[in-house]
Symmetry: D3
Subunit: 166 residues, 6 copies
């Protein structure tokens, strides 16, 4: 039986307080979409198993009396925000642009159980941009939305980075 007592002379509470760490959690949702006017098979209604990676950055909580001590943000709290703002809205839904003509939109809304009409072409690029707005507005001030990665298929994804858009 061995016990290792580790001493960090150069690693103390101050370091933690001023260090920036990024934390990421992965989410899934199953969604259909169609790209109006696209010149390929994506113009048809089809679907994907989307995987969304949400990355926050911040300082780990530095107060030993705080139950979140040592965390940038409790993954459970992050999970609740992303589930409410993204997964509940887009999972098991079909997403189409408002630019479809009225007749088709009416057809969509009556033919589909859960249609989400958005103000943009629902490409992977635009979805991840939209999601950045939805998540940012719900985060506490102590953390920053650093980036989002959205896999549309197993081998292609789009990313939004705060640093690219400041």
């Amino acid at each position: 039986m061995s016990t290792i007592l580790v001493n960090f002379t150069c690693y103390n509470l101050l370091d933690i307080m001023t260090s920036v760490i990024r934390v990421t959690k992965e989410f899934h949702f199953e969604m259909a979409h169609a790209l109006l006017g696209y010149d390929g098979p994506c113009k048809n209604v089809h679907g994907h198993s989307y995987r969304l990676f949400v990355t926050l950055s911040g300082n780990p909580v530095d107060d030993p009396g705080n139950p979140k001590y040592g965390m940038v943000m409790d993954f459970t709290d992050l999970k609740n925000i992303v589930r409410n703002e993204i997964v509940k809205v887009f999972d098991h839904a079909v997403v189409v642009s408002r630019s479809f003509d009225r007749e088709k939109k009416e057809m969509f809304t009556s033919a589909f159980g859960n249609a989400v009409i958005v103000d943009y072409q629902p490409t992977c690029e635009n979805l991840v941009l939209d999601f950045s707005d939805r998540i940012k507005s719900k985060l506490p001030k102590s953390v920053k939305l650093h980036s989002l990665r959205l896999y549309e298929t197993a081998n292609s994804f789009a990313e939004w980075f705060a640093s690219d858009n400041e």
Copy 2:
């Protein structure tokens, strides 16, 4: 520099000729579907990134003069069959049961770019059963369709096994 000369006294052409090996190839397609009458969110049109694993069994070709020497079936030939019979039909499509009422089916066929109307509820279980019929009929007699695995989401799948259905 080293060269290893390997001799197999117990491993010869006869062994290869009578040995049964299984070979598997993975395919992907992006599909939407809806489950008529289901009591959950899957009743809505939604989509998945399906992953299909096709497993054949047979004896590796035993004729050194055959370009396919040592193969159960050339993966390229298998790829062509599965692409024609499955991927081309179901990729970037929406699949619904013939049991939807006439009005809705007409809506589906006009609202979607590529609707596949099938004679069954398009659950993962029934899709994999249907695929087994489609692939079996196109395989050469020298190989047997051993099994199919169809992932509907990243963590759930259905399987058809020949041995379960003989």
Copy 3:
């Protein structure tokens, strides 16, 4: 816009009713354990991100009026069973054998927030055997527990198969 009308002359309700399909769902839990008397580092308390694959076999439901039409078992129902019987018990717990001496067991139960004392050495092999008992007893009669796969690390796993134990 194209619509494919698919007709299956050889694929009908009877086929579905008598076809056997396997369905699998993946679960995760984060657990610590220790192997009493083992001659390697696994004798220490350490942890793993366990991944459990539960495979059922059965006939897809053949009644179009049943909301589970076309399913061997609704994944949601399977999820509830496995969460209650396995994940809630073993997630965020430390599992040790009853064979530890009394003093150590008392230490374990006071030092750990959630200790599960089992009647066996908690190897991956014995855990998967135990899980087979726990899950089997809760399944409806229409489905059979076909097999379980339990990953202890990313590249090693144990499996229980009903067919190996009949």
Copy 4:
């Protein structure tokens, strides 16, 4: 703080002794090969990151005094066998058939640092068959080589099963 004391009335040492469990471990090696006479790009020397899954079946050790108590086979022991018999031979090597003409074989053996000349066409099918012989001969009698899976690329693999070849 909670402690769960689990009692298994139906789960005892006898069950473990007579239960059959399968255990699997994954291995990797980086190998080049060429297929003599093949009518496609695989006739060229090229390479793959091979992944080999070795599955054994047996009864978990039932003697509490044995350090391997509860294990079908210690993963460390399995690792040593597969590393010696397979990984050390085939990793960072180029594998070609003895059927290449003498001049070319001499070129191979002088041009390559580590050439393995085998008595068969080194397809994925034949490699997995060869590996089954190499591993079987080194296993203790208490376990059985159940099957091997060899990934040649990320989405194609060959498998050898004892039950297919008995």
Copy 5:
């Protein structure tokens, strides 16, 4: 049946036009190589299943009349560029440095079906650097090559970033 009509007051065409999004696509190729003068097993000819991730950055197309509306670059166009410039050249090939002596290079070129002689040691680092040149020269001006990630084995990779080299 529910329809969600989503309105974005703060999310409009202007935002899309000025937002920077990164898009990534994954490619595979099966290649052999040898490292001249290396003091380890990589000096031998051996192979890997390479995975290449190509990341572009740019503004999603902002013209609703453009079939690529909402895309940084159509994945199909990116696929064609990377297939022509990288995959067709390096897949099913063996890559060695021009610094091998003449005799050995002649042996390589006669012994291998498809030898690619490059002006550098074909480490993962140099390959990814070479690929950055090959891809950059073929991209349209509207997008920027942001970065490349090249997996040599399942758990090691090299990356080139434009921002590291400006």
Copy 6:
């Protein structure tokens, strides 16, 4: 048989010497921990299969006479450092904060085979920060520790970036 002779007019030794490339290697360890004072199940001793990605940046070695020619750092050397500094310390161990009261710490050190007592709450965030100190101090001056990614579960991770902390 074809041989491609590749000439790079714009790609020479100077480019390699001044180019910055990042290299990454993945490591695994199996660890238990407990979060003192946390208001959720993580306050219990439990475990994870941690995956650590270590990313270095630097210029590939530019001296053809150096066995490491073309490498930022030999992966074998990096492997040795990370194994010694991280994996050997944290694998098959339980990690708890020094802030536990004396009685509990004594219990921990006697009840566990291998306890690592650290000066911080062992969240994923603080672990990755600690690891950055441990690895940085052992790297040669020619390379820079660029970033670390530590997966605690299959779908959540923390990252330390040098650029965030300069």
